[in-house]
Structures are given as structure tokens and as C-alpha cells.
Subunit: 248 residues, 2 copies
Amino acid sequence: MTPAICQEIIEALEAAGTVEEIHEICSRVCAYYGFEHFAYVARIPVSLAKPYMCYVSGFPEEWRDRYLGLGYMQIDPVVHHCLKHVTPLPWDTLMPPEKGDKPVWQFMGEAREFGLKSGVSLPMHGGFGETALLSLTSNESPEKSQSRIRAALPYVYLISAYLHEAMRRVIASEQIDLNKAELTEREKECLLWAAEGKTSWETAQILHVSERTVIFHLQNAAKKLNVVNRQHAIARAVVMGLITPQFG
Amino acid sequence: MTPAICQEIIEALEAAGTVEEIHEICSRVCAYYGFEHFAYVARIPVSLAKPYMCYVSGFPEEWRDRYLGLGYMQIDPVVHHCLKHVTPLPWDTLMPPEKGDKPVWQFMGEAREFGLKSGVSLPMHGGFGETALLSLTSNESPEKSQSRIRAALPYVYLISAYLHEAMRRVIASEQIDLNKAELTEREKECLLWAAEGKTSWETAQILHVSERTVIFHLQNAAKKLNVVNRQHAIARAVVMGLITPQFG
DNA sequence: CGAAAACCTGTAAGTTCTGACAGCTTAAAT
DNA sequence: ATTTAAGCTGTCAGAACTTACAGGTTTTCG
């Protein structure tokens, strides 16, 4: 639980070059902070309809297969929390499901049977629409592990940020192309106004150019983004954070 | 630096109901962890072209005015890091700016003159496209404060997550309407496929309905989102995270 | 039952976008 | 000095979207 170990793990994550290395580091995190299993999942919206999913799982295989096979991700209250919040969720603070909500109730019972009695889930949202979630679990009773989990929270949360960063780096290099499609200023401007619902003619007035020019830039942007039309380009540009260049 | 203080701050943030209360809590964070000033800024994309900006500043007023007035946010390397990463940035790890990059060089010099010699910046991205940044600073030399900042990092990072959550809650209740515009399943489906670049006719094939019906749903969605056309609806739906209902 | 909401479908005129054609200027880089 | 990239502009036909009209069924809830 010493800060030194946390620092060491962070440096290991910054140096990691493969998913396997990261997996091994996660195991170490479990060992150091008194957890048994971990699971990391990230969703990267390369496409909205079919986002790229990425798993690093230290969960029992049987449970993982059951979880994915039965679509438990739709049910899991932990997932819902992580989609909407940025704060860690120690499982003992989970509200008991509504009476009528049988599926959730059953799901949580099953999880306990698989040795996931207590734990904490750490959400992580990236600047490019990625959503990720690291769960650390133990088979101890919630009462016993509560204080230990609370004490570990600041460390594992910080670690989860570096984990996320490491995964992004590794995935970008070895798996998919998180192509950053460099757009020109004009292209971004035209996309921005198009996303604000302006027609080409209106955007032309705003930018003091001809309508034809606006269309031209939007077409170029669409080509660079490798999309089929204007709507697609807008959606892609928004998820990739290509618009809103200025913070202020 | 004890965990108990961290826990106490988090509980205070969870209970905070106004921006003033949050400001006060941030001051306490500074005091506890040995910083002098803090600044929190969040950008919420209610509109892409004119996002809602939200400040809680404990910086010297003169510096804050200068910073905003001169558009330093465009230059500030700390802001650039926070837009692209999820990990904390201790200022001493900032790479020195390129030789030719005079504006950045000058900017950093000015910051030092205003008593912002060392510090750390904590990025935070929310699940609905919000981007936020908490900076904690001190007038000590980087060498002196380095180890203290490193030790505080896990705590202040965790705190920054709860801070962000608290700000979201307060803003939603007292300032702007982060209206969640409830769309029906069909409307979301149609928006999703439109965002994927499908024409109404194509979406109709996918959903096994008539083209007219798809147009109808998209129009209804646009009305509910209070936008002027399809492109606008797509952009809004994407930033608000209304699409991609399933994680898996 | 009646009302509301989700869901579904059609026509027609007008506007906007798309794709393919062709060509210009200016500033930076080799 | 030549190339390259960004930026800019035009026309035209056909495809797609918008708006406004007018209807329908099914499910849910009070």
C-alpha cells in the first residue's frame, strides 16, 4: 500500500508495449492491493454502430464467457454507473436492485457464486469518446474488505488512468488504426457549422466564401475521414473530438 | 495527507449544493495538500460552437483576467495535455517548449511571475463529452515541491473526480438545463444509422420499415432535441451520448 | 373505456446535398 | 524554380432531405 509501489506500477504501465505486459501488470496490482481478480474493458467508438471492444480479463473464464454470452453487460449495474459517472464505485455502495428487477438480482447472485463477492469498479472516459472500466474483485465478504478497498481507492484509481493511457497506446500501435485524420482549419470550421445545423449556404455566409467552397471542404473532410457522406463525417468528427479546437 | 481527510473531502463534495460550497472545499484541498492556488474549468458541449464554460477559480484575479483576456487557453501546454490525456500532469514533467515556440515560452514565464511556479493539473473527461481540468499550484520551486506533489497525486486525482461529479450536479440544478431529451428506441436507432452515413432508404431496409417511417422518426427526434435538421440532430445525439445504448 | 404515446405509412412541392466535370490563387517546402 | 498543399470557385444532373398535408394500428395507463 505504499506510494512507492504505486509509482512503480505507473512506470511499468508507461513502459508497457503489449497487451500481455499490461495483463501482467494488472495481476501485480491485484496482488499488491489485496484483490483476486481484475477485468478491464474499453469501448472505442471507431464506429458508433460497431465500436471496437477491447478486453483484458483476469476473471474466471467460465464467468467471463457466461457474462459475454448472455449479454450481462446490458444488465450489470456497475456498467451503468461507469457509463454515466467518473467516480469509482465500491460494490458495497451499490443500491440493491428494485424489487421487480429480477434479472439484475439474479445476475448479482451469480456473480457472488463465481467468487466476485466484493470489489470496486473504476470508470475512465477518454478525450476521444472512449469509455473504459476496470473492476478489481475479491471473494471476501463486503464487510471485511470495505476498509481495505477504501484505503486502496486513491491508488488504484490513479493506476486505472495510466492503464487506460497504456491500452490506448498499445491498441493504436498493434491493433486498430485510431487514425487521427488531420483536417485543415477550414474543413473543421465547415464541419463545425454543419454539425450546428447550418446549410452549406449559411456556412458560406458565416465564413464569407461561396457556397461551392463550403461543399468542397466538406467533401474533402469526408474523404479524409473515410466516411460516406456529410452526416457520417459529422458523427465521426464529433466522436473523435476533431471539432471544438479551442477550449475557451 | 491521511486518507481520512481525503474521505472527508469527498463526502463534502457529495453533499455540496452550490458553486460557492465547492469553491470553499477546493480551498480546503489546497490547504490540506500544501498548495496555494487552484483553478477548475469545465467545458460542457451543450452546443459545439458555443460550449458552456464553467470556472471555479482560486487563482490571482489579475492572472485569471490576463489568461482569459489574451486567450492563453489556446497556448497553455497544460490545457493541451488535458484535452488529450486522462493522466495527471505534474508541471515539472512538462517538456520545455520548442525553441521556436516563443508564445509558449513567454506564457510560462508570466505564469511563474504570478506565483505559479510548480503544480499539477488533473484532467477529467465525463461520459457526456464534458472536459474538465483542475490545477493545483504552489510558489515553491519545482525541486522542493516535487516529492510532496507526487505523494498527494493519488488523493487529489480521486478528489478531482468527485469534484467533477459535484460540479455537474450543481450546474444541472442551478444554471443550465442539461436536458436529457428522452428519445424512443426507434428514434435512437434511426439516428444511429443516420450517423453511420445511411440514407433514409437504407435505414428503412435495415429496420424493415418504410422509408417514410424512418424520416418520420428522425423528424420527431429532431423536434425533441430542439435542433433544426438531421445533421444537427446527429451531432447533438452523439455529444449527449444518446446513441450506442449497449456497451457490448 | 378514453387518452396518450409509440409506432407506422402515404403524397407532393421545394430545398439541399452529392458526384463528376473543370480550373483558379497563394504560401510553404524541396 | 518547381512542387505541393490549402484554399477557393464554377456548372449540372440526380439523389436525398425537408416540410406540410393526411391518415392508420397497437400498447399502456388512469
